[in-house]
């Protein structure tokens, strides 16, 4: 009898114990009575060896200023999205996280109510705690990043526009004296004579880079309404507010025909339609001309990352679209315990030259060395490989970043001119709500996978396959999406008072 009792007690104890083990290993409750706070911040990138050291330096610097410390955590490219989605679903009270259109999706998170509204009428946190940042970004950019007129994350202050064109391998240009390219090439068709030369003289090289997902198709620069892989778009100018199926447009057909011609002439990789990893071909020195999304100094960036010298040829005019505005942002978690302090930190981070460059480039003398301190020109230091995240486009404000010596010293000036030159599209800040047409969108995406890679690489005859693709898209319900998008877009234009 006693024994039995003893065992029941033992069993209960065993059950309780398993739950206690965890608690003991955890932390005690944090006291929020102190004015001092601890913030958490999640970003994406390739984890760096000296990350914790930099984090410590950041804390040393911000503590006297904000009476706060921040725990910075970097997740790798592939895991960032899933990790953050779990945290948000579990309602973890972290403070700041990176968000964009391409990871930890900004629109989805806002729809879930995961992010704190920053400029709600009557509670304009942005003007109160981050006035300098607000001024830096400007109204156009803030509009573009807003959803229904309210901003939920702070975009990085970088190039505010994009344009498309080519990058060209300079060693080959010099070798075959093709310098007049840079004057003569104004469109895809103008490339032909140069591709021909390379084809004849350099048998191991693909004259034109065209791959599944990265190809001359982008020269059309559609202003995508739904998603990259749904052919529902606006023309990238403010002449028309009509949403169209891009495959039905004459310029699409003309472009695919040219690409097809190049493919048949052997300028494009034979198996291009199934290859997505174009970067490794660039690094292996196998490509002469590659279509690229451009900005000032893109060629220098590509030279650094591929090990070959490139020069860019701009084809399309720069435009400011919603994509730029929501391409890289820092959001404050709606469940954050100290949103004001988090915003104050971001303000400091976006405006303080020392702090910003510390996170971007590491510690002077270790990770970088100054070549010209007045101009902020630097070179990699002895420990550069332990800290060189190369994420200037994510961390705050590029205009106060240092510049590597092999880059154009006028980089930021060029950026500013580029931003001024860019045409803000009427669709800035328009966010399509696809809740009514989810099925059609999914169906269109699978049609896209089937046809576009073949068409954009010239692997198949456009005369036969474009009509077939259009037919398939119609069956997938693309017209229903266009109708819904047009309705929402007209409403949006009316609400924002933007004229046709």
């Amino acid at each position: 009898m006693k024994l039995k009792k003893f065992f029941v007690v033992m069993l209960v104890v065993a059950f309780v114990l398993t739950s206690v083990i965890g608690v003991v290993t955890g932390f005690g409750a944090s006291s929020s009575k102190l004015p001092y706070v601890k913030l958490t911040w999640y970003v994406i990138g390739t984890p760096q060896k000296d990350w914790d050291l930099i984090n410590q330096k950041v804390n040393e610097y911000i503590k006297p200023k904000l009476n706060a410390e921040i725990k910075m955590t970097m997740f790798d490219w592939g895991e960032y999205n899933d990790k953050l989605q779990t945290k948000i679903a579990a309602g973890e009270p972290f403070d700041i996280c990176f968000t964009a259109i391409w990871t930890n999706n900004y629109r989805t998170n806002v729809a879930k109510g995961a992010f704190l509204p920053l400029n709600k009428p009557g509670n304009d946190l942005l003007s109160k705690y981050a006035p300098k940042t607000k001024k830096l970004l400007g109204d156009d950019f803030i509009n573009g990043a807003s959803i229904n007129g309210i901003l939920y994350a702070i975009p990085a202050n970088k190039e505010k526009a994009h344009n498309w064109g080519f990058i060209v391998r300079m060693d080959l240009v010099k070798k075959y004296k093709l310098d007049d390219m840079f004057k003569k090439v104004k469109k895809l068709e103008d490339l032909e004579p140069y591709l021909k030369v390379i084809k004849q003289k350099e048998p191991g090289i693909y004259p034109l880079g065209a791959y599944a997902g990265e190809s001359p198709r982008f020269l059309l620069d559609w202003d995508k309404v739904v998603d990259d892989d749904v052919p529902v778009s606006l023309y990238p100018n403010n002449n028309s507010t009509k949403i169209v199926n891009e495959l039905e447009q004459p310029n699409t057909k003309a472009l695919f025909k040219t690409v097809r011609k190049y493919y048949l002439a052997g300028y494009i990789r034979k198996d291009a339609s199934s290859v997505t990893d174009w970067m490794s071909d660039l690094k292996a020195g196998k490509v002469f001309v590659m279509p690229q999304s451009l900005k000032p100094g893109k060629d220098a960036e590509m030279s650094i990352s591929t090990g070959y010298q490139w020069k860019q040829i701009d084809i399309t005019p720069p435009v400011m679209s919603t994509r730029e505005c929501i391409g890289s942002m820092q959001a404050i978690n709606a469940k954050s315990k100290n949103p004001e302090r988090a915003l104050m930190f971001l303000e400091l981070f976006n405006t303080d030259k020392y702090l910003n460059n510390l996170v971007n480039f590491g510690i002077e003398g270790q990770h970088y060395v100054f070549k010209d301190k007045a101009k902020g020109i630097i070179a990699p230091g002895p420990k550069a490989k332990d800290y060189s995240p190369g994420l200037g486009w994510m961390f705050g404000n590029q205009f106060i970043n240092y510049i590597y010596e092999n880059e154009d010293p006028n980089k930021w000036k060029n950026f500013e001119e580029y931003n001024k030159k860019a045409l803000p599209l009427l669709s800035l800040g328009f966010n399509f709500d696809d809740s009514k047409v989810k099925t059609q969108v999914a169906a269109c995406k699978s049609v896209w996978k089937q046809y576009i890679p073949m068409l954009e690489t010239g692997s198949v005859d456009p005369d036969k396959y474009i009509p077939e693709a259009i037919e398939k898209f119609k069956r997938a319900g693309v017209d229903i999406i266009i109708k819904e998008a047009q309705k929402q877009y007209d409403d949006f234009l009316k609400k924002t008072g933007r004229k046709k």
Binding site: L3, F75, I101, T276, M279, K295, W393
Partner: protein, 301 residues
């Protein structure tokens, strides 16, 4: 029980057919493994030119040198994996066998209740988010080595297998006689029951070891500290990263994103080979206990 009763004989034709079938399955298992090993021993540039081959092209051990020279991170992950596998397996076997043993004992008063508790959670689970909240907010497992061990320590499925095995192979009279001879409960369990059911324990241990060794899910959910990443998760990250960067390359547009150097094809395969290594050797070690499979009811376990 290895009786040669005629009831278990099959015709030559059927036997041949079965053998052929099993050979095919065996090949289907071995060929991919062989391909991975041969790619890991190939020269990368040659792979790019000629595609994958079943024989190494341009034999080189460069990839292994590269992976091993990655130094601390890889060895650290290896250490974590080995530690977690050993500790986790021991704990899992201990807890599962204790739980199963009391459910096997018919004179245990709360047997039904505890069977029900385990069985109920096996059939109905709350889902991912509550699981995550319990692990993080209630048990505070986040970023601790326990996060990689505790969630798999108790597995009702193993308990049921083991209990069935006990009731099939352990007559009640043994327990009775132990009692009469004056053995206490723990003595009975550790000195008499355990030595008699080694094959069952070995099976559970193998299940657990493989689960722990191959796990990338727990670090993925609960670990944010690089020092606690295990080997499988490191591989998973590399794989994810390559896929992801290819996927978003077009979407990033002008962000000027510069993907860092990714490990080459052969280096990834070398990592996979190193990751398989020790656990492949574990099976022969357990093999001798599997002379007579385990059964759950009439089903082979």
């Amino acid at each position: 029980m290895h009786s040669k009763s005629r009831f278990l004989q099959i015709s030559i034709a059927a036997e041949t057919l079965l053998h052929i079938m099993f050979w095919i399955i065996t090949f289907a298992c071995i060929v991919p493994l062989w391909a991975v090993i041969s790619i890991s021993l190939s020269d990368d540039n040659k792979i790019r030119q000629s595609g994958y081959r079943l024989w190494p092209v341009g034999l080189s051990t460069k990839s292994y040198e590269f992976v091993l020279s990655q130094g601390k991170a890889i060895w650290n992950a290896y250490g974590i994996t080995i530690f977690v596998t050993i500790v986790g397996t021991l704990l899992c076997v201990l807890i599962v066998s204790l739980y199963a043993y009391v459910l096997y004992r018919k004179d245990f008063k709360y047997r039904k209740l505890f069977t029900f508790i385990g069985f109920f959670t096996m059939l109905i689970n709350a889902g991912l988010v509550p699981w995550y909240i319990v692990c993080v907010n209630v048990l505070h497992l986040k970023n601790t080595i326990f996060a990689l061990i505790l969630p798999y320590v108790m597995n009702m499925w193993y308990v049921l297998i083991f209990r069935t095995y006990l009731s099939m192979s352990l007559p009640d009279s043994i327990i009775e006689s132990a009692k009469i001879d004056g053995a206490g409960e723990f003595t009975t369990f550790f000195r008499i029951v355990i030595p008699l059911v080694k094959p069952g324990l070995a099976t559970i241990a193998l299940f657990a070891a493989i689960t722990y060794w191959n796990d990338w899910w727990l670090p993925f959910m609960l670990i944010e500290n690089e020092k606690l990443y295990n080997l499988q998760y490191m591989m998973y990250r590399v794989q994810q990263k390559i896929q992801y960067l290819a996927e978003i390359a077009g979407k990033l547009g002008a962000s000027g994103i510069v993907p860092a150097d990714l490990p080459t094809e052969s280096a990834r395969m070398a990592m996979a080979v190193l990751g398989m290594g020790p656990i492949v050797l574990a099976y022969p070690f357990f093999q001798r206990y599997f002379v007579k499979g385990l059964t759950i009811g009439a089903i082979k376990g």
